[in-house]
């Protein structure tokens, strides 16, 4: 499989196919990135597109010092910050130009979102970059410009806080807890 970085260099050299492949690889992850942070599907789609437009405009400036993944999420984080600045009233996590859409959202998802809201903003961001974008500690450190050890310690704190929150909720609302927990699936073989 051609690496993202090689595709980016091919795109710099004028390959449309290389861009299309990058688009195919990252459209859904970027949509998910914005979708979870803004809770507004339309804006998530727009900003995912904006990210790719920024890549096209700045293609000549890309240098393979950074992985394409980090590069893309770097752009995405900047767009997200700009979006949030536009809507200062949405300083609360999960809000954007519009109120969170909860119609039809499964209860377990609402519950996870509620749990995430309790976290410190930066710790939450680190946790999300790790869990949902599946970035490594060093990639998160690079993106947020903080030391790797800080990433690790904040991630640790956020997971403990989340665990504690989930446990306390489980005690007060066992029915809700039961619906939220996706069981941990098994694996045959030591993989």
């Amino acid at each position: 499989m051609t690496s993202d970085e090689a595709l980016m260099l091919e795109f710099q050299s004028g390959s449309r196919a290389a861009f299309e492949e990058l688009f195919a690889r990252y459209r859904k992850p970027l949509y998910g990135f914005f979708g979870r942070r803004l809770n507004n599907p339309e804006r998530a789609e727009d900003l995912a597109q904006e990210t790719f437009l920024a890549v096209i405009r700045a293609a000549s400036r890309y240098e393979p010092r950074a992985s394409v993944r980090t590069y893309l999420y770097g752009i995405a984080l900047k767009l997200l910050a700009a979006e949030r600045r536009k809507f200062l009233t949405s300083s609360t996590f999960g809000q954007s130009a519009s109120e969170p859409k909860t119609d039809g959202t499964p209860e377990c998802v609402l519950w996870v979102r509620q749990a995430m809201e309790k976290l410190d903003a930066q710790e939450r961001e680190i946790l999300m970059l790790r869990e949902y974008e599946q970035l490594s500690y060093s990639e998160i450190a690079e993106l947020l410009r903080i030391p790797v050890n800080t990433v690790r310690s904040r991630l640790f704190r956020s997971r403990l806080a989340l665990k504690s929150y989930l446990e306390s909720e489980a005690k007060t609302n066992p029915a809700l807890r039961a619906s939220a927990g996706q069981p941990h699936p098994g694996k045959r073989g030591m993989q």
């Binding site: 004028g14 449309r16 949509y31 597109q49 405009r57 749990a115 970035l135 927990g181 030591m190």
Partner: protein
């Protein structure tokens, strides 16, 4: 968890689960966790938190490249083409100058630098966080059918696998490549039999040769086939988990039959980026069972509970026992 009793910090345990510890430290951690119920509980808690978070899926609408992007892309490529057309005169002038040699040297340096960077990057790609989504199906298929048959057979000693039915992975799922005579079924599993929250779940390099005995072929193999069909059918992880649960609730999926076990003794396999081909081992399957009934995870016990089945959609307890030889009879490394 104090370091007096535990040679690892809680934070390190978390980093271990994230695949973020150096290999030697990861091995130490793994050895300790195998023997430490307290750490196992904490590890299960960390995994549980990740599992809870997985409930929050964001379904992206299926769209092609939007027109705005197509337009911007077209404009950029046009500009680039125009720049190329206008460049020959400049290029001709440059060619005659001594700067061409400096330029050539610079290009070579950049190329070497790029290669080094990309090589380094590719190495990093081996890291466990490098598989955020499914690769193209070709990446999971083995182009040489005979090689896949041989790898599947290598899971068990020849006396067993030579008469086993052999499955190979095709575009639509597993298909029988060779009929068997002894009731065993050998197959090379792919990454999606990992836990759903595993960073290796989409690792296209994973090849897990396994030979199921007749009881496991009837009651465990269907789970591999089910997951494979769902993956190739494009289901999301949440959909797969739900489908497995429903399958068990409706009794469409079997529970482990008495005596269900399998051989994983291949030295040719690649189980994940952290352990490579691991060590040869046997695995035994049961409906949910207390690990103490097998003395699993006790000091000096060779039996380990595979924690990845605990609390999963498959109601299975799985015990693992390393063995000393690979399927070809050669000595295996000591754990």
């Amino acid at each position: 968890m104090s370091t007096n009793r535990h040679p690892i910090e809680q934070e390190e345990l978390m980093a271990y689960l994230d695949g973020e510890l150096p290999l030697d430290r990861a091995r130490e951690t793994s050895s300790h966790v195998e023997l430490c119920p307290e750490c196992q509980t904490l590890a299960a808690d960390f995994r549980g938190v990740s599992q809870e978070l997985m409930a929050w899926e964001v379904e992206s609408p299926e769209v092609g490249i939007p027109s705005e992007i197509n337009v911007a892309l077209g404009e950029r490529l046009q500009k680039r083409e125009a720049a190329k057309i206008s460049s020959p005169r400049f290029h001709n002038r440059v060619l005659t100058s001594r700067w061409v040699w400096a330029g050539a040297l610079a290009i070579v340096c950049v190329a070497v630098g790029l290669k080094l960077t990309l090589t380094s990057r590719n190495r990093n790609d081996d890291h466990s966080t490098a598989y955020p989504s499914m690769a193209s199906i070709e990446q999971y298929l083995m182009p040489d059918r005979n090689a896949e048959i041989a790898m599947a057979r290598s899971a068990a000693p020849e006396a067993i696998s030579s008469d086993a039915r052999i499955l190979v992975l095709g575009w639509r799922g597993y298909e029988t490549a060779i009929e068997g005579k002894n009731g065993f079924v050998c197959v090379v599993e792919r990454s999606w039999t990992s836990p759903f929250n595993s960073a290796q779940f989409w690792n296209p390099k994973v090849r897990g040769p396994v030979c199921f005995n007749p009881a496991a072929a009837r009651s465990i193999l269907p789970l591999t086939i089910k997951r494979t069909e769902m993956v190739l059918g494009g289901l999301s992880k949440a959909q797969m988990i739900d489908s497995i649960k429903v399958g068990f609730d409706n009794k469409e999926l079997p529970t482990p039959e008495p005596g269900a076990m399998c051989y994983m003794m291949s030295r040719a396999g690649y189980l994940n980026d952290a352990v490579g081909h691991y060590v040869p081992h046997l695995m035994f399957y049961f409906p949910p069972t207390d690990k103490s009934s097998w003395g699993a995870d006790l000091p000096d016990s060779p039996v380990t509970l595979n924690p990845q089945f605990q609390g999963g959609p498959e109601p299975i307890t799985e015990f693992v026992i390393p063995v000393s030889k690979w399927s070809d009879g050669t000595a295996a490394p000591v754990m």
